[in-house]
């Protein structure tokens, strides 16, 4: 598979790993946070941790869009679809995320709610056109990668005069979450593997503030395993040299300023939300977007007067600490026993990008405590 195999070559990986071992200072620890679930997934799926020296540790960050959506928002979506009898469309990996009271979109669907899995927001537009007599709402989630497609869908709906389409917006912003974790200082972080897909949109300059303010180096890394290893080497070098700047390993896709067209589109349709609740991180200021009032006809929250729901987190679940990089998944009492990918209790066990699911599905051999 050209353009994929090149980034998964075992020999190159071993050569890079050797360099990392040579250059890493045995007298110190390197605690590297991979912000994105995509990186967590790659680290476990390809066995990257096995290639690293013992003093390099990966701290899993909150960059899994499914994991950070709080239970209350899912509960609100379930109420919306069940009480207003609408068609609710969403990305597939949101279906099993636990809402409060052991509910989920999948369970609501089984009870008869009209919930459709889609692959793109434009699929939701198709449903709206095909069902002119029903309301179609798109449960939109994700970081800056998925925000522009949502914006485009609203734009198209407005141009077409689609009256039965709206978006339940839950889009969040990466730099805000990163700043929050660094400012909270709950866990020691020596370097950050920066987002790859998100950075194609927002550009590498978006993280300069983070590095300056908190003195932490950041390397934007592609999602392929060689990207990750090379980025680790770049971080080790920065840390050794006492630097704290933004470097871009993923130059084949990320520029300094990002995708101007996508940014303009996001800015046209969305504005910053004053406050938004993140699962695990709590309520963060200016960390998410909402639909601008000029487009409020397409805003499910206004159209259906969706009320804020605060759902209690699951007892015993340490997802909040895992999402802040404070604990490893296998330090949770529920991990591998009450909480498994078949029956997830916490959100990090649902998406394959969640740290707990990646740990359970790919990395369980590292710690046999969790085996069944």
């Amino acid at each position: 598979m050209k353009y994929v195999d090149e980034f998964r070559d075992g020999d190159t990986a071993r050569a890079l790993a050797k360099r990392i071992k040579e250059e890493a200072d045995p007298e110190r620890d390197y605690r590297l946070m991979e912000f994105c679930g995509g990186h967590t997934h790659a680290i476990f799926r390809f066995g990257i941790a096995d290639l690293m020296p013992d003093n390099i540790r990966f701290i899993h960050g909150p960059g899994c869009p499914v994991c950070v959506l709080p239970a209350g928002r899912i509960e609100a979506a379930i109420r919306l679809v069940e009480e207003k009898n609408i068609i609710l469309c969403t990305y597939a990996d949101l279906m099993r995320v636990p809402a409060g009271k052991r509910d989920s979109l999948q369970k609501a669907k089984a009870r008869g709610a009209d919930i459709r899995m889609i692959y793109s927001p434009t699929d939701a537009l198709v449903l709206a056109r095909e069902n002119p007599n029903r309301e179609v709402a798109f449960l939109a989630i994700g970081f800056e990668t998925t925000t522009p497609p949502t914006a485009a869908a609203i734009n198209i709906a407005q141009a077409e005069g689609l009256k039965n389409f709206s978006v339940f917006c839950n889009h969040v912003e990466t730099p805000a979450a990163m700043m929050h974790i660094l400012s909270a200082g709950e866990t020691k972080i020596d370097g950050i593997l920066g987002p790859s897909h998100v950075s194609t949109i927002i550009g590498s300059n978006a993280y300069a503030d983070c590095c300056d303010r908190y003195g932490v180096p950041l390397v934007i890394a592609g999602f392929e395993p060689l990207d990750v290893i090379q980025s680790v080497l770049m971080l080790v070098r920065q840390i050794n040299a006492g630097l704290a700047v933004v470097e871009n390993q993923y130059t084949r896709a990320v520029s300094t300023t990002g995708n101007q067209k996508a940014k303009a589109l996001m800015n046209e349709l969305f504005e910053q939300r004053p406050l938004f609740e993140w699962r695990g991180l709590g309520v963060l200021p200016e960390s998410a977007v909402q639909i601008r009032s000029a487009f409020s006809d397409f805003d499910s929250e206004k159209r259906f007067e969706i009320k804020e729901i605060v759902a209690a987190d699951i007892k015993g679940c340490i997802c909040p600490a895992v999402l802040r990089g404070m604990n490893n998944p296998d330090e949770c009492k529920l991990f591998g026993t009450a909480c498994t990918p078949e029956d997830p209790k916490g959100a990090c066990m649902v998406s394959s990008e969640g740290a707990c699911a990646a740990y359970y599905s790919y990395g369980r051999h590292l710690n046999t405590k969790a085996t069944t």
Partner: protein, 341 residues
């Protein structure tokens, strides 16, 4: 009796009433195409002599969407799937039964196409459909057509194949490239159409298995990695046999197109369904000879040894990644869903 208008007609409730229109449907679509001495007798059951030995029975319901896909359809799949389930005991499959649940309004022309495909698959395999049943459900209460097939077969003497027979040191062989069927289905599923040259691998494996057990009657385990894919099948076998499994990623045959589609959709080919592949576990010393025999057969020409059985009290499947690390290959959790980004 009035003839069916196969070209324009649809299934009506009357076709399941047991009356005259049921008889017309059975004669003109089922008996006419399946055409064998047992079915032609017109009884509610088929009677036949059986050879001495251990008998095997297996049943499989087919509820696939879409009904037609690149490389097959629900008809051929319902024949291959059940023949393969019978065959994975080392048995020679003998006869099939078929039960159809038809939805009111389903076009007769499509039903005929499915039955013709089923009849061809059964004739090619030499395993006739000797009895069957037809029911009709109201519109909206089915998904066009559901087909349940049951197969019986007889195990040749001296063969004892079962999922609990794997032993540390055994070799694991897969009969060819994995993931073709699942990707072919996905490529034609509504909302996800994409162009691919991948065809379903749907095929009956009994002739391949007959040749395998003729050379190596001591085969320990056979299983077809259908739903849940290779990963799930290996986990089942590890659990049943109380062993671990060690895989080498680079040795697992996967077509570039399947890898590409999986990359794009965020899926793992190890979890994608197959309908014409088998996993064989055999003593390490017999593996090379068996592999050579498999490669002589059309359905085994890309067979490969992909790993070996280990001692492991946790019954885990661990894979040496192409990258040089190790990872667990877990059971499939829920449905495999495309990832968001």
């Amino acid at each position: 009796m009035s003839r069916l208008d196969i070209k324009h007609g649809v299934i009506e409730m009357g076709h399941g009433s047991g009356g005259r229109s049921s008889a017309t449907l059975i004669d003109e679509i089922f008996v006419c195409h399946f055409d064998n001495e047992f079915l032609n007798q017109g009884n509610d059951q088929a009677a036949f002599n059986v050879p001495a030995g251990r008998m095997v029975i297996s049943t499989d319901g087919h509820v696939i969407t879409p009904l037609f896909f690149p490389g097959g359809d629900i008809g051929s799949l319902s024949v291959h799937g059940t023949i393969n389930d019978v065959t994975m005991s080392g048995a020679k499959p003998l006869y099939l039964s078929a039960s159809f649940i038809l939805e009111e309004g389903f076009p007769l022309s499509e039903l005929e196409t499915i039955v013709i495909s089923m009849a061809k698959a059964s004739k090619d395999a030499g395993v006739p459909v000797v009895t069957g049943d037809t029911k009709v459900v109201e519109r909206g209460k089915g998904d066009g057509v559901f087909i349940t097939t049951t197969g019986i077969g007889v195990v040749p003497e001296g063969i004892n194949i079962s999922g609990d027979q794997a032993k540390p040191g055994d070799a694991i062989i897969v009969s060819g490239s994995i993931g073709d069927h699942g990707i072919a289905i996905l490529s034609s599923r509504e909302g996800l159409q994409f162009d691919t040259t991948i065809q379903s691998d749907s095929a009956a494996l009994h002739k391949l298995v007959a040749e395998m057990v003729a050379v190596t009657p001591e085969v320990h385990c056979l299983r077809d990695p259908t739903r849940g894919g290779l990963a799930t099948t290996l986990n089942e076998l590890a659990r049943q046999s109380h062993v671990g499994i060690s895989l080498v990623e680079t040795s697992i045959p996967i077509k570039a197109e399947v890898k590409g589609a999986c990359e794009l959709l965020g899926l793992d080919p190890l979890y994608i369904a197959n309908e014409g592949k088998l996993v064989c576990i055999v003593a390490g010393e017999d593996a090379e000879q068996l592999l050579a025999v498999m490669r002589q057969h059309k359905l085994g020409q890309n067979a490969a040894i992909i790993g070996h059985v280990t001692e492991d009290q946790h019954h885990m499947v661990i894979m040496q990644t192409a990258f040089g690390g190790k990872r667990v290959v877990d059971w499939l959790a829920g449905e495999q869903l495309p990832r968001i980004c």
